[in-house]
């Protein structure tokens, strides 16, 4: 019960009000034709198109696809990133051998790999998943390694003095100490995975929100296109909020590391 306290009051009511006011201004600008924005529809048109897409179109199905791919890809990236990050973070030798290769590979923007992915996997779900996983691994890997390597040496001495086993040291000292950094990596990866999923859907896999965007463009339906833009934005917010909630519930203290004054 206590963990849900303060969720509602924490909603930024002032910020929400400003957002609503901006939307209202947008509506007025378009309906009074203050500016000729043929391809920028009014919020009311977008709302009407949204209604249509939800009940007669494929918004729900496409959203489910994008969410599914994002979460699946992110999950795989998390497992791989955490496992590899743990191994490299704990072993200075392994770190030394592999970091140059990793630094070079992770500098490659995932988007530049889209054509290659298309060639290898074709227009398929596989292509989308591979892109999402490849992009999502890096923030998690880097942050896990960073979190582990920044653990103060005194803590390692504590583990030695208490004669903790290797597993005991990792479970009781290393993971909790690295946790804030790891959570940051997971958050970054989640946003990145969503973006890559949509990119892959626009370019490669005809499904999901990305595909909705393309369809709307091809049929010259700006209101519907913006429905998908808004949907993608809301999805991003929802995923982040869900992750934040998950961290708060499962890992108390995982989102902050309160240092002593």
């Amino acid at each position: 019960m206590g963990r849900f306290d303060g969720l509602l009051p924490r909603l930024n009511w002032l910020g929400v009000f400003v957002m609503v006011a901006l939307a209202a201004m947008w509506e007025l600008v378009v309906s009074f034709e203050v500016a000729a924005l043929r391809f920028l529809p009014a919020p009311s048109e977008i709302a009407r198109a949204a209604h249509g897409e939800i009940f007669e179109g494929e918004l729900v199905g496409r959203t489910i696809h994008t969410v599914g791919v994002t979460l699946l890809g992110w999950g795989v990236a998390a497992v791989v990133g955490l496992a590899l990050g743990l191994a490299l973070g704990l072993s200075p030798k392994a770190y030394q051998y592999s970091m140059t290769s990793f630094e070079v590979t992770r500098a490659i923007p995932p988007i530049t790999l889209v054509p290659a992915a298309l060639l290898i996997f074709g227009f398929s779900l596989k292509m989308e998943l591979v892109l999402v996983i490849f992009g999502g691994v890096w923030p998690i890997l880097v942050n896990t390694i960073g979190g582990i390597r920044s653990i103060k040496p005194e803590l390692r001495d504590v583990a030695t003095m208490l004669r903790l086993s290797r597993i005991g040291t990792v479970r009781k000292l290393v993971l909790p100490a690295a946790l804030p950094s790891i959570v940051v990596g997971l958050r970054l990866a989640l946003s990145l995975c969503l973006v890559l999923a949509i990119v892959a859907e626009i370019v490669g896999n005809p499904a999901g929100l990305g595909n909705g965007l393309i369809s709307a463009r091809q049929s010259l339906q700006p209101p519907i296109m913006f429905v998908y833009v808004v949907a993608a934005g809301l999805l991003g917010v929802a995923l982040n909020a869900a992750l934040g909630l998950g961290v708060r519930l499962l890992l108390p203290g995982g989102h902050t590391l309160r240092e002593s004054p």
Partner: protein
């Protein structure tokens, strides 16, 4: 009295990441009996912490060094030895509360009820039994150091190694903790090896003061402190025995004045 620690011909090097090794301790020889309160005193950087880390089994001395605990050569942390670090912020676990921090050395070797009992006893000894549920960041520096002390005491060690434990604290808190430590020493008869750069503190607390001096360092003097126990901040520090011992330590460090 049987010896707990015996060191002879102890040499230790400290190395940087680039491979340069510097000889910090050379031909250090001394014994610590049980139960004795011995201070290792010296300037900052002379090698006191290195010496303590060798005793703790955290630092490997150069070949040929003899470091024995209870008759056995020290290879890694010896059984029954606890270490209290100077930097309590970095050695307490911020994600655990006070009780769980103190419990750490007991996990895996004791059952739940016995652990709880020991934790309570240890916290009582340092006067923090009522803060068992607090998080470390909620406590003052002196209190956090007492939590670390409680954690070291929870495993009922035979020897307590302390690396400038009160160095980061203000003078008044330091005085309180010194007396608290003396009380614990008297009650538990644990041998204490106490590293400090504070001459007055070393003399006030100890039975013997080992002065580490030189580069590389060696034991420059082994000074007996004849003050009676129990010691008090006021009376002991004004006594002739205290001043005599203090004088001797000053002369070793600064030369005859």
């Amino acid at each position: 009295m049987e010896p707990s620690y015996e060191c002879s011909n102890l040499r230790a090097e400290v190395g940087s990441r680039h491979g340069e090794r510097r000889l910090v301790l050379d031909d250090v020889s001394f014994t610590v009996a049980k139960p004795e309160f011995v201070s290792i005193m010296g300037r900052s950087g002379v090698g006191k912490s290195t010496l303590l880390r060798v005793l703790a089994g955290l630092h490997e001395p150069s070949p040929g060094s003899i470091v024995r605990f209870d008759g056995q050569q020290v290879v890694g942390p010896p059984e029954g030895v606890s270490l209290v670090f100077q930097d309590y912020t970095s050695s307490l676990l911020p994600w655990r509360n006070v009780a769980k921090n103190v419990e750490l050395p007991l996990e895996g070797s004791l059952g739940k009820t016995e652990r709880r009992q020991r934790v309570f006893e240890a916290l009582e000894m340092v006067g923090l039994a009522d803060r068992a549920d607090a998080q470390p960041f909620e406590l003052s520096g002196g209190m956090q150091q007492r939590v670390q002390l409680a954690r070291a005491l929870a495993s009922r060690p035979t020897v307590l190694l302390m690396d400038e434990p009160f160095g980061a604290l203000d003078a008044l808190t330091k005085a309180e903790l010194e007396d608290q430590l003396l009380g614990i020493f008297a009650a538990t008869k644990t041998t204490v090896v106490f590293v400090t750069h504070d001459i007055d503190e070393a003399v006030y607390l100890s039975d013997r003061v080992l002065v580490l001096d030189g580069s590389p360092a060696r034991i420059a003097a082994d000074i007996r402190v004849d003050c009676l126990r129990p010691r008090t901040q006021l009376r002991t520090r004004e006594s002739a025995e205290f001043l005599a011992a203090r004088h001797q330590v000053y002369e070793v460090i600064f030369g005859t004045l």
